[in-house]
């Protein structure tokens, strides 16, 4: 078997006395599209933060292409080829769309912290930026300030920044949250196209999206993965149904506070 793109073993995370991630094991093969689902408060975002460097694991290991990344700084993980998006749009709102994507491109093109070059004259950066803008369909809005974009376009821009650095492992955190049905369809098509040949890990609430896109699905409940498998296996798993439906009922009662 080839080295998994991402390999998680015995991962735990405590916040004080509260155990949020209680031992996660997961291997994701290169090129796989993997979805993580689970009720609110299951620890999905925490898991993402542990993988991408936002949090330090309490114990356990996270390996990216065989290299340990648990506790490594986010920018270092990013440079190793892992990139993520955020649940709430996390873009550079004072910049134009083009500049936003360019921020995502710069480091990977080797321009890091350079202060002797004019960004306007970096031809390959311009080309790469244009290519990405084109691929996500934001080319005609490139000169708009990002803050003025409609919501769905901001979500698209979020994805564009995420893939801009050319990372081969992509983590998307609820990319279609808050989108209308038609917007969601377009977003799914975009994600499929943009992550062609890459490893994709996605957290999503919209089951249509999950089952339509994922090669495999993991179900995270109370900080543990209770099931991993192909979509049809998960659909039929009674434990999943129980955990999921039971919790969804609670969620309605609580009023859906995130």
């Amino acid at each position: 078997m080839t080295t998994p793109a991402l390999s998680i073993h015995g991962l735990k995370k405590n916040f004080g006395p509260a155990e949020i991630i209680r031992g996660v094991d997961l291997d994701i093969a290169p090129g796989e599209r993997h979805a993580i689902i689970g009720p609110n408060g299951a620890g999905k975002s925490t898991l993402f933060n542990l993988i991408s460097g936002g949090y330090h694991p309490t114990s356990g290991s996270v390996k990216l292409n065989g290299q340990e990344i648990g506790g490594v700084k986010p920018y270092a993980i990013n440079r190793m080829g892992l990139s993520r998006s955020f649940q709430v749009s996390n873009i550079f709102s004072n910049m134009t769309v083009r500049e936003n994507v360019r921020c995502g491109v710069l480091y990977s093109m080797g321009y890091g912290y350079s202060f002797w070059r004019n960004v306007g004259n970096l031809k390959e950066v311009q080309e790469k930026t244009a290519e990405i803008l084109n691929s996500v369909g934001l080319l005609d809005k490139a000169s708009l300030p990002a803050a003025l974009l409609p919501y769905a376009d901001q979500r698209t821009l979020e994805i564009a920044i995420t893939i801009a650095g050319g990372a081969d492992v992509i983590l998307l955190d609820e990319p279609t949250a808050g989108m209308s049905h038609s917007e969601t369809e377009r977003a799914v098509a975009l994600i499929k196209r943009a992550t062609e040949g890459k490893t994709l890990i996605i957290v999503e609430h919209d089951m249509g999206v999950v089952f339509g896109m994922a090669d495999r699905i993991s179900v995270l409940v109370y900080g543990e993965i209770i099931a991993t498998g192909k979509p049809e296996e998960i659909r039929g798993d009674p434990r999943v149904r129980e955990a999921y439906l039971g919790d969804e009922a609670d969620e309605h009662a609580e009023g859906g506070a995130a």
Partner: protein, 424 residues
């Protein structure tokens, strides 16, 4: 560019003409103004003011690399101005007493380079612990460091020269461009040269990958981490550059004043550079330039008219913070912007109202402040504009205070209410 997509995005970017108008033209205009001034035969006062403005423009712009572009509020930026200036000052003395060797061949004209290096070094050392955090912790560390350096300024006489500082003579070493550096007009050319270099350099910096990422870090440090950048490293590098350009301004000041005293590293100039940048407008590159010009004039000339100039300065600052957070540049660009997008005719009525209101309110305030100041001094003098004899006992005084003030505020409120109605 053989890639059609790249071609189309290139079209979206500003055209060559736009780039020229927005980026290169202002610099050329600046250079022309700077070159043209001496032909009007300015007096010593004008030369002095212009030179100090030049120094302060570079200083304020370097500050804005932190505050405006990097989102880092510093209360100790004068430390780098001062240390750079001291480095240049020591170098000037080395040139004066040089006996062959490196310094004998170093022109005084080039001292801002030494200042630049000194400021960068200081920034690199002090920035290392300071830049780990942004926001309030950064501001507080800068305050603490500034206090410590200011105290050290009075302790280490070999570096800072004690209370009287160290002085030198700029008329030494090899001459450059045929400038003896003696007369103020020679020094003017020196300041002008480095002003253009400094402004150009700092503008160019905003266009570099690091400059862009500094803005990105200001807006969203979290996201920056996830596109491969270490925000601490970005801040640290920007901090070094800000220190370096402040040091360059210090080097210019060393040559102009030929003296540096520990007061230069104290909290006062650090506060003053903050005022310059903020009043000018930190959101615009030109903002600190405007702020430096206005405040330098206020500092050196307004004190001739009124000893309450600090109060006026404070009031101006408060008004900007409360009602025009984009600063003087924001107001100016608001007006010029309305020409280009055709809203000028709609807005002009409101602006005139606001202007009239502000003018009246200001008039009342001036009478109040001036009469108060004269009353406070209490040595027989009263405020006597236009032959009026105003004291607190004179009812006319109160009329002149209350009527314009009330009228002005009323007009201002009306103007603002109208805009709100229009918006609603």
């Amino acid at each position: 560019m053989n890639n059609p997509i790249a071609q189309s995005v290139a079209n979206l970017a500003p055209t060559g003409g736009q780039k020229f108008r927005q980026r290169v033209l202002p610099l050329i205009i600046l250079a022309i103004i700077v070159v043209a001034i001496p032909f009007f035969g300015p007096s010593r006062t004008v030369y002095a003011l212009l030179s100090v403005m030049g120094i302060n423009i570079v200083f304020a712009l370097s500050y804005n690399m932190l505050l405006g572009r990097g989102g880092l509020l510093s209360f100790g930026h004068a430390v780098y101005f001062g240390l750079g200036g001291y480095a240049a000052m020591h170098a000037m003395r080395a040139i004066e007493y040089a006996d062959g060797g490196f310094w004998a061949g170093f022109p005084v004209f080039g001292l801002p380079i030494i200042g630049f290096a000194g400021g960068a070094l200081a920034g690199a050392i002090i920035g290392w612990p300071s830049c780990r955090r942004a926001g309030t912790p950064f501001a507080m560390i800068s305050l603490g460091v500034a206090e410590l350096i200011a105290a050290a300024g009075f302790m280490f006489n070999s570096i800072f020269g004690g209370e009287e500082g160290i002085s030198g003579d700029r008329m030494n070493g090899p001459e450059l461009f045929g400038l003896s550096m003696g007369p103020v007009s020679d020094v003017y050319w020196f300041i002008a040269f480095w002003l253009v270099v400094g402004v150009g350099g700092m503008y160019a910096f905003t266009r570099t990958p690091l400059g862009k990422m500094s803005e990105a870090t200001r807006d969203n440090p979290e996201r920056v981490e996830f596109v491969g950048y270490d925000p601490q490293r970005v801040r640290y590098l920007v901090f070094i550059f800000a220190g370096a350009f402040a040091g360059m301004a210090g080097g210019m000041a060393a040559v102009y004043f030929e003296i540096f005293t520990p007061e230069a590293v104290s909290l006062l100039p650090s506060g003053f550079v903050l005022l310059m940048a903020y009043i000018g407008g930190i959101a615009y590159f030109a903002g600190p330039v405007i702020g430096a010009i206005v405040l330098t004039y206020m500092q050196s000339m307004l004190s001739d008219f009124t000893e309450a100039w600090l109060l006026y300065l404070g009031l101006l600052f408060m008004l900007i913070v409360m009602y025009a957070p984009r600063g003087l540049a924001g107001i100016i660009f608001g007006v010029t912007g309305s020409f280009s997008n055709g809203t000028f005719s709609e807005m002009i009525g409101k602006w005139l109202q606001q202007l009239a209101g502000a003018f009246l309110a200001f008039l009342g305030l001036i009478v109040l402040i001036e009469v108060s100041v004269n009353w406070s001094n209490g040595f027989g003098e009263v405020f006597e504009p236009f032959g009026l004899h105003l004291t607190f006992a004179n009812p006319l005084t109160w009329v002149l205070i209350v009527v314009p003030l009330a009228l002005g505020i009323l007009i201002l409120r009306r103007a603002n209410r109208e805009t709100e109605e229009v918006l609603a």
